[in-house]
Symmetry: C2
Subunit: 439 residues, 2 copies
């Protein structure tokens, strides 16, 4: 048997994921070597401040501030520093100097994915990113390989643990969004600046990555419609529960075809949505993640697990390390990113969906008829109507109605909501939520 | 760009999965070619009886009874004929003649896996088998690649759709096992001879395959403990539901280490078990499959979807076809099976688990103390005790008790059950079930 020289691994970043990756590379050294067929040497860890106290499993001598020199001597470079720069230029440097690269950086992939994949293809490097979506949950490899012979039709993903924790608390504990956010921050589920999570940027980035992979099409982040959860009220949560739904922040990726409307493309978006209480996604609690997927032949699949956490995410990174290292040992150029389908990423106005529209209306006969007329004027049909008790604070006789629509285009639904707000029988439109997961 | 010649694909078998694979290869021809980078030509389908009416999508000329000649001209051979022979010898012929091979044949892999993997490694062929476990659910690739850097601790899998359908009906409809089996046969979920499913052979084969992969160890089928579901009664189902459990047929794979008892190995088994009603596996209904997995770093993961069905299983086969074909285009020897850990497959007597033991006992004071003494004599402690109404048919005053034990060795639990059956206060041990999914 030929002895292969040890594989040299450089790590960029030693945060919560990075230090776990380094720790596992050191602690599981013999086991990983047996699986790969040769040793894996962690040759250095690039950090900004080498004085900061670090994980006691990791020898001090591994830390360096010179990322470039570290990269130039490595076979595999793992980027876990986050942010767009210098992550982008360091990954390009690594691939151009002959290394395979691994990243968990969803912002970078969603923003500069095409440039990075093109660079990888040009130099024959591999770019792995299992940890970028769904933490420990294998979702990139199943999409890229297992479903490569199928046609993915739709993905509904709970891909942000922070917002799932917040929304779950709102449903189970009755916390307001601000209270639940404060609790998430206290427990370390949300960062001091929670913008990326609660405003839906993280979910939108992951939607772009999943849609690109599922539909063999480069989906630019600018084409991803994004809405956050800070506007979600306890009234919306209560109304959802009364109607048999829960509110989840979803990454939605859809293959859209409609010959009559001349539509042939994909939609990627991240926004809160009503999900039926019996849908598998509805029982994903706490900070967990799950990706629900429908494919032409495979039918419905779901992948569930921890969506974040240093150790959990490190598991996905280590899986990529073993794949990359095995490729070094056995050779072969591996698989390039497939964007052969090259479909247009369609604006959300072209998507067909359902709404639940909550509004305060005058409490008198004929109101429902007038509302139904507004909807039918816009080509939208009513599926369900619910009336709840009049608000105690209302001076005039008033009631709250929730209208559930049949599927219609986003453009028609948005126009309907505008017209309802202008209607004399509607005092206020209080809630507009999309419904997902209903066939 | 270099034009690669088309890849030649031979299919063995044209049953429910085979004809769907052929249909998709023909219908999705252009799309698959774009994903692979070259065309995929289905060059023939070996069948036993070419006169049988077949799928109208497939040209008659493709059928042949000469499997050997077909194989000798192929780059990729897909074996979907089932059974041990001639499947085994045809796969060996294919690999020895330079083809990569794909199979969904769990019986063959569980029985002759080591021989087939050794042959593949020797000639540098690839052996893919994503469809052998969990139908359309990606589970082989996640275990082999995504979790390759982690340590799998335990797998609990609902891997047989037929028995899950039967058990689900017993819980939801109150059918007896025989009634539910008859209904499953009527709907095509169970075969005319249901032995492989209801006696647990299928689950045991899949446990062997999953354990081998998860623990990097060849687990022979003979080492897999197996129990079927035909003995499951409606009384057991009712008792389980009263105690907050459901009964599932599980494939269980565990990494066992206990320095004190000198244990360092793996356990693979397939048997009915009580699963807590709140466990994710408890809500897997109908003929669906799910694999729940715990790994050291990744934590808990679950993979869910359709476990059978011709079209669904064809999705997994096509994923393997694309992987194999890409490897032909880009080259490289791919990944061999890893059995470096080479751990012993331990008998079930060495496994530690919990039991729920149902028994009819005399209804008089002091009986529980005597039962508890029997358990403590065997080093088993009582976790829960439930008494249910006395049987109406009982001549003497009698009652039914269900004892839930703390974790103990199978050997101790088996001895306890024997001693209870011999005890003068116990008229009959009516139910013995293991509990899984409780940490």
């Amino acid at each position: 048997m030929i002895e292969y020289r040890n594989i040299r691994i450089a790590l960029l970043g030693a945060g919560s994921v990075g230090s776990q990756v380094a720790g596992l590379l050191i602690e599981h050294r013999d086991e990983l070597a047996a699986r790969v067929g040769t040793g894996l040497d962690l040759v250095g860890i690039a950090v900004r401040d080498p004085q900061r106290p670090r994980d006691p499993r990791i020898p001090e001598a591994l830390y360096t501030t010179d990322a470039e020199s570290l990269i130039l001597g490595a076979d595999i470079v793992i980027e876990l520093m986050g942010g767009l720069e210098p992550a982008r230029e360091l990954l390009l440097l690594a691939m151009n100097s002959g290394a395979d690269v691994i990243t968990a950086n969803k912002a970078l992939l969603a923003t500069h994915g095409p440039e990075l994949f093109a660079a990888a293809e040009q130099v024959g490097a591999q770019l792995y990113y299992e940890a970028a979506v769904g933490g420990a949950i294998p979702i990139i490899r199943p999409l890229r390989d297992s479903l490569a012979g199928d046609r993915v039709e739709r993905i509904l993903g709970i891909v942000n643990g922070t917002t799932n924790y917040i929304l779950d608390r709102m449903h189970s504990q009755g916390d307001s969004v601000q209270e639940a956010l404060a609790e998430a921050q206290r427990l370390g589920y949300a960062e001091a600046d929670p913008t990326a999570d609660v405003e839906g940027f993280d979910a939108a980035q992951k939607a772009a990555i999943l849609a690109s992979l599922a539909f063999h099409t480069a989906v630019p982040l600018e084409a991803v419609h994004r809405e956050g959860i800070l506007g979600i009220t306890l009234e919306q949560v209560a109304a959802a529960q009364r109607s048999g739904f829960v509110i989840k922040l979803l990454a939605v990726c859809e293959r859209l075809t409609d010959a009559e409307r001349g539509i042939d493309g994909v939609s990627a978006r991240g926004h809160p949505a009503l999900v039926p209480a019996a849908h598998p996604l509805a029982s994903v609690h706490g900070a967990n993640n799950a990706v629900f997927l429908q494919a032409e032949a495979a039918g419905s699949l779901m992948f569930y697990g921890a969506g974040a956490g240093g150790l959990e995410t490190a598991s996905a990174v280590l899986g990529d390390v073993v794949s990359a290292a095995r490729r070094h040992v056995v050779g072969g150029p591996g698989v390039a990113e497939s964007t052969h389908a090259d479909l247009p990423a369609l604006p959300i106005a072209m998507v067909t969906t359902r709404y639940q529209i909550g509004m305060e209306v005058l409490d008198r006969p004929g109101v429902l008829a007038q509302i139904a007329l507004v909807l039918s004027d816009h080509g939208v049909s009513v599926e369900t109507v619910q009336q709840t008790a009049a608000g105690a604070e209302a001076a005039a006789p008033a009631a709250t109605r929730v209208i559930g629509t049949h599927a219609a285009t986003e453009a028609a639904l948005a126009a309907t909501v505008h017209a309802l707000a202008d209607s004399e029988v509607v005092s206020a439109v209080t809630s507009v939520l999309r419904v997902e997961g209903v066939s």
